[in-house]
Symmetry: C2
Subunit: 146 residues, 2 copies
Amino acid sequence: MRHLADQIEVMKNKGFKVTHQRLVVLDYLQHSKKHPSAEMIYNDLKEKYPTMSLATIYNTLEMLMKINLVVDIGAPEERRRFDGILVEHSHFFCTKCGKIEDLTVPGIEQLFEKAKAAHPGTINHCRLDFFGFCEECQAQEEQAVE
Amino acid sequence: MRHLADQIEVMKNKGFKVTHQRLVVLDYLQHSKKHPSAEMIYNDLKEKYPTMSLATIYNTLEMLMKINLVVDIGAPEERRRFDGILVEHSHFFCTKCGKIEDLTVPGIEQLFEKAKAAHPGTINHCRLDFFGFCEECQAQEEQAVE
DNA sequence: TAAATATTGACATTTATTCTTCTTTAGTCT
DNA sequence: AGACTAAAGAAGAATAAATGTCAATATTTA
């Protein structure tokens, strides 16, 4: 599931067409650490692909989520934010400035397995998120108190 | 932080007024296991409090989140869903029917502590969520394959 | 290469959430 | 207790993210 060729296979197997636009969005997401919103993707891609519409970005994201190549990270903002880097990792959300950081906390795997075993249905994805102040906002906060 | 009197203290200490509406919303959330949206809260409360407006629900929720008496559980839906029961627990989201279940997975505490220690800023809240098919949807899925 | 079918893109629409204005209330001071 | 002031509430309008529509176009498969 790491190479584009594999992902093209996944799309085909699930009955979806492999379009230029889909590959562009997928490639963008897999090389971005920005956790972009649909509109950020649109803005970044429209320079190179000026005819691509925002609706296509939404359609493509929905389709990529359906086949589990992209996830909605559940950011506490109006806009949905997406991640195409599916190596297991957590997110940290700064509740002051809105920054989103990647974070690796060892031990999620075990919890995931425990939950799978305990749940009567099927669990196929988990997320572990943290909320607080990032380093910069925390420093500002401490200055304000002085 | 379990009794209403304590929560009133929190509101006062942070400089917020303790209004009838705020207490009603807080009480509702702390006794509901529905993980309600703002509109669900509004609909449930308007029978008893017909003059309360939806905007007040939103304002109150935002304020209660600010003082950490309520959390947005980050449900994968258009509508935001809230939880006022702050005993540490996880959520399971059925990606087929949208059902939200409470789930307790032992071991989050340790991950939380690890993350706190590793992060340069301040972490004051974490969430561990699971996604998949609930028991009923899984059963339906299996029938469909036959 | 052509037919059948799925996807794209521009625009219209929906609707969750926020904003605005005016009125009411909570908390405080005398 | 009565009055003051700033915050909060009510009601409805405004905003904008996200989705739906549909003709035009691209892709697949034979």
